[in-house]
């Protein structure tokens, strides 16, 4: 377990920024009430075995007791670095992204399953969409009852969405909460094999 170096930090933050915009500040400065400490600490990012975790400081202190090889996971996993040095977000980051998301898409109840099977979101699936999305923005996908389902990348701006035909792709699928059932691979591997 170690802190991220500068390059890694920028990569991670850039990725998160795509999804949460200025709310990234909230993620970084969020006070943590975990642990017995009287003063609320902060959350920080830690790298462990190519995976990036979002951990409260008190937990980090305690996790130093465990050796690097033995430490399987801690805090919330945000994503992982590939062999090429690219950073990928994993489903676990959803709990971090959803409350802070800037761009959202709500799916119609009929098309929820399609998304949860790993398919991209088509225009016909859209129940609602936030205004002011540009192509390439990170988008969090919700069900109509405000349950976050996953996230992806926008292929079209909101403006273009209006004009496009109903079968055109709007959001490329990146991760969704259905992966755990699709890939029956145990907790640790959960969500990883998609990107390897």
């Amino acid at each position: 377990m170690r802190t991220l170096d500068e390059q890694e930090t920028t990569v991670v933050f850039e990725k998160l920024y795509k999804f949460v915009g200025n709310n990234l500040k909230n993620i970084v400065e969020n006070p943590s009430h975990e642990g017995p400490d009287p003063n609320p600490g902060r959350y920080c990012f830690r790298l462990q075995k190519n995976r990036v975790y979002y951990v409260s400081e008190s937990l980090v202190k305690r996790a130093t007791n465990v050796s690097r090889e033995k430490l399987v996971s801690l805090g919330i996993q945000v994503g992982k670095f590939t062999h090429h040095g690219n950073f990928h977000l994993t489903v676990h980051a959803l709990s971090l992204l959803a409350p802070n998301a800037k761009h959202k898409v709500w799916l119609k109840p009929t098309s929820e399953m399609s998304f949860l099977y790993g398919n991209p979101v088509l225009k016909a699936h859209l129940g609602r969409i936030t205004e002011d999305i540009n192509s390439g923005d990170g988008i969090v996908v919700y069900s109509m009852s405000d349950v976050p389902l996953g996230f992806g990348i926008a292929t079209k701006s909101t403006k273009d969405c209006r004009k496009s035909d109903p079968n055109s792709m709007v959001v490329i699928h990146q991760a969704d909460i259905g992966e755990g059932f699709m890939i029956d691979d145990g907790f640790v591997e959960f969500g990883t094999s998609v990107y390897v």
Binding site: N23, L96, K104, I129, E131
Partner: protein, 924 residues
């Protein structure tokens, strides 16, 4: 003959009056009636007999001077004699003088002198001219039935009686004065009588015309003669009666006089009659108009003339000579305005003149309207000029014109542009520059565009510092959305026609054996048909659909151009304002005079905005809604209500444009969330807030749960410090949101934390600027408890009803009123709301020092003055008692003190005495 003699006797008798017998009691035998019916001419004079006036004159004359009496007597005798002569003449002519037989074989009696005499008679007697004329006419044309004749006789008698009475009355007043005065009076009387006669004549002619215009058309000319009368009042009356007649009888088409060729042709009787009618009507109408136009500059007739012109134009805009009418009316706009300008110094006239003004304005409007309908090509260049003309003269009262324009805007589309140009000129001139610019440009562009274009230009020139009315004019525009559709339909039809043609062609190809003659005939037919069609198109009032559509879209583009310019200007200003904060603040209309009408307009025409503009529009609105505070938060120049309006407009635009795609305007939600805190009940407009709540929060079908909860919490909190109206609106919204979002009802439970729903934010953060991060689901709506004790009963019941909602999802609630309605109701009620029941409670709740103040401020609301006075009296008596008490106590203290001192003194003295005594004893 016996009958006649009887009549003669009656005529001669006057000195020894027969006993008065009421008309009804005289029994007339059937024979007599028949006789009379046959020889009506014999009885003609009876109608002119006036037994009563004769009686009165005789009785009255007794008191008068001898000369007068004699003169009168002589005159009457002469009259009688003349009448007798006439009667005799008739008899004599018939019996004695032989009739002359002309070559044609007609018999001529010597009736000529009688005809000549009669008018003289009429004048001398002061008898009614028209009666004679009417009788003559009747003699010639129809024989009256018995009943009719009787009725007529009666009527005449009555009239004559009245006249006689008038005469006697006026004469009686001036019995004593000299004969000269008497003569003068008589002259006056005759003048009056003549006027009366003329008036009656006019009335008769008018009614006759209206009853049967075709047969009585000749009398129109007679009627017109009265228009040239020397008497002013008669002329005016004549003009007005002519107006009424023309208004009624002018046909619904335009009269075309027959050409020479047509005149030569033989026509049926009916057509002849028709032609005669038309030509007479036209000529007299022309004469009438000429008369009107000549009288127009006469100040005495001015208003009448204006009224006539305007009414004519309004009633029959299609009729001949309207091209003469139009400029006249417009000129009158000018002149009447001058009159008004003068009249403003004389307040008693203002109202009347302004009425004329208004009528003429509306006429002009109808005129241009008509122009547009009838001659699109010409009027396109003409009417704006007319309007500019009008507006220049209306300029001093430009605001009233603008308001008039709003009314006038309900007219068809083509017309609107005129009003643009007019309002433009108003605004341009009111600012001082740009007028010339407008004049030049008008001649270059079609009016449809020119108005919008001009306003756009003015706005550009003056950098959006104009009166809001300039832009508000746009609101009255009506764009026809069906234009495109109809065109599409036409296209379809064309396609069908083509298909049909093809089919026909194929048919023809199948049967190619058509003789040359037939073909040429067909060609001829088709050619003429085309010509007719072309003519029809040229003549028909409908403008070309394509052309109209083009103009409309161009106008629209100008309108939006203006709007966007204003928005952009506002955003730029907002961005640059923090730097020059102190210098450019202030101004009577606020820093953005055009912004609010502009926003209104954008909201109204939102459905017409091109999708390509949408992104830009949203961007600007977003900047404006945030108060231009992207640079820095210091001193945002836009007021809270303006910013709320921006949010509303954004939502409106989105709603109207996108039925298919449901777009979530997150940023604007955030803005509204923050604006609710900044809202101050007194300073900002409550209606705007209520509208925002309605449009943004209530109309949306779905909400983020977090967001809804945040809004619920914030609204509940702020309704604690709002006025009753705003609080009601807020509570209605809260209820609405709670009904829609079942999960938000957990906020009603008395349990902090919100459980699993609260998401990442565990604790409610009331000052968070983002509703998503406020963690409102972790909060409890304790405000409702407080609001349930609100002084306003409606709010307290509302709050308690909200707090009774439970989290069970299958509760069904009836739809409630919208926040806007609630606000309106309570804003009205606030003025009349009586809080006398609560004064006690209030004073108990507040501190003692504040309570009197609070009561004093609320006093104008509470009507319980007597009670209050009593209370105040009680209060002050208590205070006075206290003061008195204190005084008394002080006195008491003083006296007790002095007593004590006295006592002390006594003691001292006693002891002193005792000491001295002891000393004395010692000494002794």
């Amino acid at each position: 003959m016996g009958k006649k003699q009887k009549q003669k006797e009656k005529v001669i008798l006057p000195p020894e009056l027969p006993p008065e017998v009421p008309e009804d009691e005289v029994s007339v035998s059937d024979e007599d009636v028949d006789f009379l019916a046959e020889n009506r001419a014999y009885a003609a004079f009876v109608s002119r007999l006036d037994t009563q006036s004769i009686d009165k004159q005789v009785t009255r004359v007794a008191n008068a001077k001898e000369d007068d009496l004699e003169a009168l007597y002589e005159r009457r005798l002469r009259k009688k004699a003349l009448e007798k002569d006439e009667d005799k003449g008739l008899e004599v002519d018939r019996v004695d003088a032989l009739p002359v037989k002309s070559l044609d074989g007609k018999l001529y009696y010597r009736t000529v002198p009688k005809a000549e005499k009669k008018p003289e008679n009429g004048h001398k007697e002061g008898d009614t001219e028209e009666d004679e004329d009417g009788n003559d006419g009747n003699k010639g044309i129809v024989k009256l039935t018995k009943a009719e004749r009787r009725a007529k006789l009666k009527k005449k008698r009555k009239e004559e009686k009245q006249q006689a009475k008038e005469q006697t009355e006026t004469e009686e007043e001036k019995q004593d004065p000299q004969a000269k005065i008497l003569a003068e009076v008589k002259e006056d009387l005759t003048v009056e009588e003549i006027a009366e006669v003329k008036r009656q004549k006019m009335a008769e002619l008018g009614t006759a015309l209206l009853n049967d215009p075709e047969s009585n058309i000749k009398s129109l000319k007679e009627l017109l003669k009265f228009c040239k009368d020397e008497d002013k009042t008669i002329t005016q009356a004549a003009l007005l009666s002519c107006l009424v007649v023309f208004k009624d009888i002018i046909p619904g088409y335009r009269i075309r006089l027959p050409t020479e060729k047509e005149r030569e042709m033989k026509v049926s009787k009916f057509v002849k009659k028709m032609r005669f009618f038309e030509s007479t009507l036209l000529s007299s109408y022309k004469a009438y108009l000429q008369r009107l136009l000549t009288l127009q500059h006469n100040s005495g007739f001015h208003r009448v003339v204006v009224r006539c012109l305007c009414t004519l134009l309004d009633a029959h805009p299609h009729f001949n000579f309207r091209e003469n009418l139009l400029p006249a009316v417009v000129r009158n706009l000018n002149s009447s305005d001058e009159v008004t300008r003068l009249a403003f110094s004389r307040p008693e006239n203002t109202l009347a003149f302004s009425q004329t003004l208004c009528s003429s304005l509306s006429m002009a409007i109808s005129a241009t309207n008509l122009h547009f309908r009838l001659q699109p090509q010409i009027s396109r260049y003409e009417s704006p000029f007319l309007f500019l003309l009008c507006c220049e003269f209306f300029f001093p009262s430009s605001s009233s014109v603008v308001s008039a324009l709003f009314v006038a805007f309900r007219l068809p589309f083509g017309c609107c542009s005129c009003f643009f140009s007019s309002s433009f000129s108003c605004s341009a001139m009111s600012v001082g520059h740009g007028g010339v610019f407008g004049h030049l440009s008008l001649s270059l562009l079609p009016p449809l565009l020119s108005g919008a274009w001009l306003i756009a230009n003015v706005v550009k020139i003056h950098e959006c510092e104009l009166h809001p009315d300039t832009i508000e004019v746009f609101l009255s525009l009506a764009f026809d959305e069906d234009l495109g559709r109809s065109e599409n339909k036409d296209d379809d039809n064309k396609g069908k026609h083509k298909k049909n043609k093809k089919r026909k062609n194929s048919n023809e190809q199948i049967q190619p054996v058509i003789s040359d003659k037939k073909r040429s005939k067909q060609e001829l037919v088709s050619k003429t048909r085309e010509e007719v069609n072309a003519d029809y198109k040229a003549a028909s009032s409908a403008q070309d659909v394509v052309e109209r559509r083009r103009l409309q879209s161009e106008t629209l583009s100008f309108v939006f151009n203006t709007y966007f310019r204003v928005l952009k200007h506002a955003t730029q200003l907002a961005a640059s304002r923090p730097k020059q904060n102190s210098t450019s603040s202030g101004g009577a209309l606020g820093s953005h005079p055009l912004l609010s009408p502009c926003l209104k307009g954008v909201g109204m025409f939102a459905h017409l905005i091109d999708l390509d503009f949408m992104a830009d529009l949203m961007k600007h609105l977003k900047i404006l809604a945030s108060g231009g505070s992207n640079v820095g938060n210091s001193g945002s120049p836009l007021t809270v209500s303006e910013r709320i309006e921006c949010c509303i407009v954004a939502f409106k635009v989105m709603r109207k444009n996108l039925d298919a795609l449901n777009v979530d305007l997150q940023d604007f939600f955030i803005q509204l969330y923050n604006l609710i805190i900044e809202y101050r009940p007194g300073r900002d407009h409550g209606e705007v807030l209520a509208e925002a709540l309605k449009i943004i929060l209530c109309d949306d079908r779905q909400h983020d749960m977090q967001r809804a909860a945040a809004f619920i919490k914030r609204l509940a909190t702020s309704s604690l410090c709002f006025g009753s109206a705003e609080a009601m609106a807020a509570l209605v919204t809260v209820k609405n949101l709670l009904q829609k979002n079942v999960k938000c009802r957990y906020m009603l439970e008395n349990d902090v934390g919100g459980g699993s729903l609260s998401g990442s934010v565990v604790k409610y953060q009331p000052y968070s600027s983002d509703p998503h991060l406020s963690g409102a689901l972790a909060a409890v709506l304790w405000e409702l408890n407080l609001l349930a004790k609100h002084y306003h009963p409606a709010i307290s019941t509302m709050a308690s009803s909200i707090s009774k909602m439970t989290a069970t999802p299958n509760q069904v609630y009836l739809p409630t009123i919208s926040p806007q309605q609630a606000f309106k109701e309570f804003a009205l009620e606030r003025e009349s709301f009586n809080i006398k029941n609560d004064t006690k409670k209030l004073s108990h709740k507040r501190k003692r020092g504040n309570s009197t103040l609070a009561v004093a401020t609320k006093l104008p609301l509470g009507l319980d003055e007597d009670g209050l006075r009593k209370k105040l009296a009680d209060h002050f008596t208590v205070v006075r008692d206290i003061v008195e008490n204190e005084k008394l106590r002080r006195e008491l203290d003083l006296t007790t003190m002095s007593l004590q001192l006295h006592e002390d003194y006594k003691k001292q003295r006693r002891t002193g005495l005792g000491m001295s005594k002891q000393k004395q004893r010692k000494h002794s």
